[in-house]
């Protein structure tokens, strides 16, 4: 018999309680994974979307907390383009549109004939011709939820747009967008002559000192604007920061609840095994070995819960990805390092939560415990 057998047998003795406890830990782990998964996939979704477009720097209005809520005069773009080292400037307007059947869709407006359109990978159809109006391109991840397709229409605020192309873009965000000519989206939003951000390309994106220099000059020249590097978007965006904070908060609570469930179970288990723990002591088990047994039981419970929790986390993210408000935005994969980190956290907290019950087991009066019938 191995040491672990004793711990496993003790858990096996109360199969329902042990399973429920493991399930409680699993729910906590699953919740942590799902919450961090949402915030991670939105972070990555944005960064990858702008990366895929070839955007090196983003210009936004300085005081706007979010990238697509500010308004900047469209003609500022020409002044930006005149700065030495800036290769191209593309204005962009964005809005979250509430579509038919409550689907939320991120709509982008790009100037026809501009650079951004050529960054798209087209599955079918074409990009708009210069000056073309009343047309739309749909990201392949949004086709199903919009119930549309090439040659059909999408309605934005009751105005129909002809779908002339279906595109694919890496980055979950970009892939589920709806793209319109800038002038059309300006009309829809009542923002004629305005954009929310500028996508900037620089001459030498690989040279970080050069990029920093360009950025510094841009900041001096345009004090009313903020310039973000694409890789920093998730740190800069207020919404993404808020989401991360919420996800941390909920994850922490879930982890605490998981610990309490485990703590409660182990305390009960120690309490009802008073006599057996006394016997172990009478047989010459050292306090360390007895402590090891209880901690091992907590460890086994949290390991089972952790593994089950990873499955629950997957299922949770998959389930949420079918929610019409989230469709296309969520990346349902959980990277291996994140999985291992969460599992490690569960095991660590599990061991920690078993220390108190183990300590209680050690404080036991052995003679009383043995007398107890």
């Amino acid at each position: 018999m191995h040491f672990i057998t004793i711990a496993a047998q003790n858990l096996h003795r109360r199969p329902l309680r042990s399973s429920l406890t493991a399930l409680g830990v699993a729910m906590a782990v699953g919740c942590v994974l799902a919450m961090t998964g949402i915030s991670r996939s939105l972070d990555h979704g944005w960064v990858n979307t702008f990366m895929a477009r070839g955007t090196h720097l983003l210009a936004v209005r300085k005081d706007s907390a979010e990238m697509f809520t500010g308004a900047i005069r469209e003609d500022v773009g020409d002044q930006l383009a005149a700065v030495e080292g800036v290769r191209s400037v593309s204005g962009e307007l964005m809005e979250l549109e509430s579509m038919a059947d409550d689907t939320t869709m991120l709509a982008g407006g790009w100037k026809t004939g501009g650079r951004l359109w050529t960054s798209l990978q087209l599955n079918e159809g074409r990009i708009p011709a210069e000056g073309e109006r009343g047309v739309a391109l749909v990201g392949e991840a949004a086709v199903d939820s919009l119930k549309t397709g090439l040659g059909r229409t999408v309605k934005i605020q009751d105005k129909p747009f002809a779908v002339i192309g279906i595109f694919k873009q890496s980055g979950s965000m970009g892939n589920s967008m709806l793209l319109l000519p800038l002038a059309d989206l300006q009309d829809v939003m009542g923002m004629q002559g305005r954009v929310a951000i500028f996508n900037l390309q620089v001459d030498n994106p690989g040279d970080s000192a050069r990029v920093a220099d360009i950025r510094a000059r841009l900041k001096t020249r345009f004090p009313e604007l903020a310039f973000w590097e694409t890789k920093d978007i998730s740190e800069k965006s207020e919404v993404l920061r808020l989401l991360r904070a919420i996800s941390w908060g909920v994850s922490t609570m879930a982890a605490i609840i998981g610990c309490l469930v485990l703590l409660n179970t182990l305390l009960m288990s120690v309490a009802e095994r008073t006599r057996e723990i006394g016997v172990l002591s009478a047989l010459g088990w050292s306090p360390r070995r007895i402590l090891g047994l209880i901690v091992l039981e907590g460890f086994l419970l949290s390991a089972a819960g952790g593994l089950l929790g990873i499955a629950l986390g997957f299922a949770g993210l998959r389930g949420m990805s079918f929610n019409p408000n989230l469709v296309g935005f969520l990346d349902t994969s959980i990277p291996l390092p994140v999985m291992l980190q969460t599992l490690g956290l569960a095991l660590g907290l599990g061991a920690l939560a078993s220390l108190y019950p183990a300590w209680r087991a050690l404080r036991l009066n052995v003679v009383e415990a043995l007398r107890y019938e």
Binding site: M1, A282, G284, W285, S286, V367, L370
Partner: protein
């Protein structure tokens, strides 16, 4: 000069703010190879004395020595219980989730590091106490007599010098009582193990080499007889 295994020196054990005195300034020595019956009415302090001798309980006053040394810490006492002292209880105190074989292996953790060695040794011990056919039964599937045999095998796990049995036949019928007693005596002779049996049974007490009678936490009589 007799070979003293355990020395109890002026030991008192008081309970609940001193109003109950379980043992009162008691002294005695146990010699290696002793076979002793500890008797006395219920409440006279027999179990208390046993618990003090193996370090499960600590005296309020006085000192216990094992082989001339006073074990100063809980750790030293658990090491003694692990390797030198075997305990047998009236109510068996077996671990219900483990098989007979596993129960005997429990004390071997930390003494025999390899699992196959533990299993082999435990099998031999169970064979010795007549439970070769019951290795994989749990305590709940064994009769009272078998449970006490199992407990004896477990007490022998690390070849102790001293066996302390607190009313080992108290829960058994007379046939099983005789068998268990016979087994303990055989082990005493065959392994030279020092044996202390707490008992109310005059028949058992009549067979031992030495009878210690307690009354109200004091020694009423300590008699030796020819076996």
């Amino acid at each position: 000069m007799p070979d003293v295994l355990v020395a109890v020196r002026n030991v008192s054990r008081a309970y609940s703010d001193g109003s109950v005195t379980a043992l009162d300034n008691l002294s005695l020595t146990l010699e290696r190879g002793d076979y002793l019956a500890l008797t006395g009415p219920s409440g006279s302090g027999k179990s208390t004395l046993l618990h003090l001798i193996c370090g499960l309980d600590q005296p309020s006053r006085g000192e216990i020595q094992f082989e001339g040394r006073h074990p100063g810490s809980a750790h030293e006492w658990s090491r003694l219980r692990s390797r030198r002292i075997g305990l047998i209880f009236q109510s068996f105190n077996l671990l219900p989730t483990l098989t007979a074989l596993e129960n005997v292996e429990v004390p071997m953790f930390g003494v025999l590091p390899r699992s196959p060695d533990r299993a082999r040794h435990a099998t031999a011990l169970l064979d010795r106490v007549g439970l070769a056919q019951r290795l994989h039964h749990r305590p709940g599937q064994l009769s009272g007599g078998e449970r006490q045999r199992l407990a004896i095998a477990r007490a022998l796990a690390n070849s102790p010098d001293l066996l302390l049995a607190d009313e080992p036949t108290g829960n058994l019928d007379s046939k099983n009582s005789r068998d268990i007693l016979a087994l303990l005596e055989e082990l005493h002779h065959e392994r030279g193990v020092t044996l202390v049996i707490v008992t109310h049974d005059p028949e058992i007490a009549g067979r031992t080499r030495r009878i210690l009678r307690l009354l109200d936490g004091r020694i009423q009589s300590d008699t030796r007889q020819e076996a």
